[in-house]
Symmetry: C2
Subunit: 263 residues, 2 copies
């Protein structure tokens, strides 16, 4: 019996090792018919393969993000029309994060108000909408240069302070944010991702995406897609190029206007 057990152990080990070496990181050893003294080893091998599977997936995700952003940023930066730059940024951000709707906001110089410059998905009527920065999710993004994700909240009329996660330089912490009742209920906003746009070193606005996977206000988000740190990292990378695109195209716009005034 003992010899049979050892033969089983060796056989299943070699099988799993061969699959893993060929790149199939989903293979696991089944220690049920193993000789006792090797069970701990078998489980350790499984833990090893598991952590490698996770790491490789993480690496692939990161490279995938970079490649997507390369695509998007090069299209964006080749654009010379400011309105189209705004539209491309928010469209890309929403598509990259599978968001149902979103908008790009720019703040005024004193950072008291924001204006919606471009809209993706439903809510086209929000275009040119103006609001106080401190009355909404995006205020914090702009003022503190933080990214924010929120979801799984209920709203009542009046001022709503909801729980949120705040991400700065890769670190996540629990926090809260203000959400505008009227806008959120009218547009059925269920989940939120807000990323600051930095241009020439200054926060100038945000990319704000809503309803990842189409989840709406009041729908359970526990079993539904929510914004993740991957989303934050991807849109953050996008917004670096977005900031440059906006700054450059604004400058071109200014030169064109000056030329038009002179001639």
């Amino acid at each position: 019996k003992r010899q049979q057990e050892q033969a089983n152990t060796i056989l299943s080990l070699s099988e799993v090792l061969s699959e893993t070496t060929q790149g199939d990181l989903s293979a696991r050893v089944n220690t049920e018919e193993w000789s006792e003294e090797f069970v701990t080893i078998g489980l350790a091998i499984n833990t090893l393969i598991e952590s490698l599977e996770y790491n490789v997936a993480e690496f692939k995700n990161a490279i995938d993000r970079f490649n997507k952003i390369k695509e998007v940023s090069t299209t964006l930066l080749a654009e010379r029309d400011l309105k189209k730059v705004f539209e491309k940024i928010i469209e890309s951000a929403c598509k990259l994060t599978d968001s149902e709707l979103g908008w790009l906001l720019l703040a005024d110089e004193k950072k008291e108000y924001y204006t919606v410059k471009a809209v993706y998905g439903r809510a086209q009527e929000m275009k040119d909408y103006q609001m106080r920065l401190d009355g909404c999710v995006v205020g914090k993004c702009i003022i503190n240069r933080e990214s924010i994700i929120a979801g799984n909240y209920t709203l009542k009329p009046g001022k709503n302070i909801i729980p949120a996660k705040v991400i700065k330089e890769g670190k996540v912490r629990d926090s809260e944010t203000v959400i505008d009742y009227t806008v959120a209920t009218e547009l059925k906003i269920g989940t939120v991702l807000g990323i600051p746009i930095i241009a020439d070193g200054e926060p100038i606005g945000t990319v704000t995406c809503y309803n990842k996977g189409g989840v709406k206000l009041g729908e359970k988000v526990d079993v539904q897609p929510q914004y993740t740190q991957d989303d934050v990292e991807m849109v953050n990378l996008l917004s670096v190029y977005a900031g440059i695109g906006i700054a450059t195209t604004s400058y071109i716009d200014e030169l064109r206007k000056r030329e038009a005034t002179i001639s």
Copy 2:
């Protein structure tokens, strides 16, 4: 004795697995004192860890490249002065590839001649130098939109055709290229990396780097650093943003000149 061997086998397996799980992919099992039936398994585990070590290093390299290019491209694209854009591109390309010298060339519209627009390292006198595209390494880059690496050649007076590797869309093939004897010997050019710059879909010039690790003409490059596919991929990524930067800044230059003419 047999029991002692099995105990050794289990001990050394657990040690290596524990180190590997904690992220040290340099650990290997030593099968010398192992019981015979497990030696094959031990070697398979070593092969597995080895291939994982290689893969993880490759992933890290790729992410490292992307992060470096993010840094460099954002600095580059924030620049509004065309001359400085040229200088930043070639400086970044040379530093990223540890090249001793390099230059950025733009071709004329008919793609017959090129002009050196910016120089890094030695050979500042090459600035504004003009040459026929078909007389040098870079011609092929521009005309075929290919990247090129060459090294380990000897030169004699007159026309020199040297072996080279050509890379297009990630695929490497053996080829050859023409090198200018006078320039190469005067500047002691020992190894070459040439990458096309594409702007608005058209090849407009090249980023050309020389002497990785300081290797000069006539020095043995077998035991010295040579340009690798990693270098090609990195400078290719850089040159995507370089193309956009040149196109945008040229456009801004034009607007400024028009404004100056009008007023």
